[in-house]
Symmetry: D2
Subunit: 160 residues, 4 copies
């Protein structure tokens, strides 16, 4: 079988309108291109990306820090309550064949750092800029297209 | 929105034919009734349940102990490589609105123990028998029907 | 160098007086024989064992489920707040060269199950009785003596 | 009781001689001032810091990513094998009342990010420089002195 590629979107649990719009576009693009959207399942960037993917008919998986699935935003179809707090950031990152990072705070930075350490491709759109190994994209389309290319090239978890 | 209920199936990573048949029937029933199948993503009971659910058109999520999504059995649509070893058992259990336990070893026992501790309903079919709070079921149909009832009653993560 | 052996004591976060007395004796014995006491850091069996070890001049490490080191009982010298909830049970077990189990609930059962699965020796004193592979001891002295023997034989983490 | 303060030292698992010398000085200072040294338990910065603390008579705790306590460097008195891979970075950080960061790679960056996110004071000595909220120190003495001050002011886990 061939599995759909999984794209993890990371960013702040609160965000400004421009970032939310961008996240929603990214979620929609992931879904339109047949990817599964993975995120931390909460608000802000996570919710906007979930909304975009869900509206486009895509599957949304939310890796939650807490123990209650009801904390997931309403666009998450499959909540995974880990009860592990911020250690879930590691799972969130590993769950993706590639990571797209938007504006966020220290949690987002930890996820970018883990992705780089794990050799998982990271595309950033208006996020932490100064990290070697993070590719910059200007638009949602560019970010998703390149994330899927990089994910696919990595072999990732897509079977044959 | 109303989320599909998630049923976590736990059991040995190797199993005899009768257990595999039972696990496959359980996976199929979960899918037929609109549930998402969650499991540890590997072989044995996990693979048989995944196969049943996948064949019936259901979604299969595999919460893996290792770091490589390719370790998932071929019926897992969404592998979640945690890299956390057996600590992923906690996530596996929390990810379900109810747990169905088949024959297994100490990992399975740890998952039953966590479910009981978390207040997550546990149905056992030919599994560890002597634990208070674990309900016994005789058939795949009975196990899934009651798991879904109990999951739904708990309110679980199904939205409104 | 030769490291001291680490003995993990598991049991309920509340307990009756007889169990507390037993736990305190076990903690004292671990310290008297030069071992490090590891536990979950909270109350009940954990606190009593910590008290016994601390009073005898031993080192007490508490692997906490929460994020606040101040949740540790007052006899813990080195609190390790994991923020991982019950997934810390895995760490608690792995941190010991052997495990001594007293009366407890599902968390304790999960820890016994993990120890058995990991091949870590488990001594039980008036705890869950029906598990193959768990050795039974009648007194604190017997439990600690045998736990240290078994830990040492395993090679565990003691250097040379 | 009053617990000793715990200082977590983070940095690369391999390092140049100058960094090793600095790490060893930091470990020694932590021990001299009565602190417990926490680290990831492996080589490089971790080993040098462990060596310094151990040589000065201090207690060294190593929070290991793997399952085998024997992977700890020889100066670790209390190895804690987590089996959680890089998710142990979260535990490593939370275990400290303050963090001192030396030169390192993405794992180190993830630890700095977590510390900032958790509100745990971070002192950097020749480490990742461009992060708001990280205090810079020039020498081992300065780093340890300020880390202990900041840890103490935070109330941290030191009891009364």
């Amino acid at each position: 079988m061939s599995r759909p590629l999984r794209i993890t979107v990371v960013g702040g649990s609160r965000c400004d309108d421009a970032t939310a719009t961008l996240a929603e576009q990214i979620g929609r693009e992931v879904a339109r291109r047949g990817g599964v959207l993975v995120c931390g399942g909460l608000g802000g960037v996570m919710e906007a990306a979930s909304k975009g993917a869900s509206a486009a008919g895509g599957l949304v998986v939310g890796i939650l820090p807490g123990v209650d699935a009801r904390e997931a935003n309403p666009h998450v179809a499959v909540p995974i309550p880990t009860g592990m707090g911020e250690a879930r950031n590691v799972v969130n990152v590993r769950a993706g064949d590639a990571v797209i990072a938007l504006r966020g705070s220290h949690g987002t930075l930890s996820e970018i750092a883990f992705a780089l350490g794990f050799g998982i491709p990271v595309m950033a759109v208006r996020s932490w800029r100064h990290l070697d190994g993070v590719e910059q994209a200007e638009t949602a389309e560019e970010a998703v297209e390149r994330a899927l290319e990089r994910a696919d090239a990595g072999g990732g978890s897509s079977g044959t």
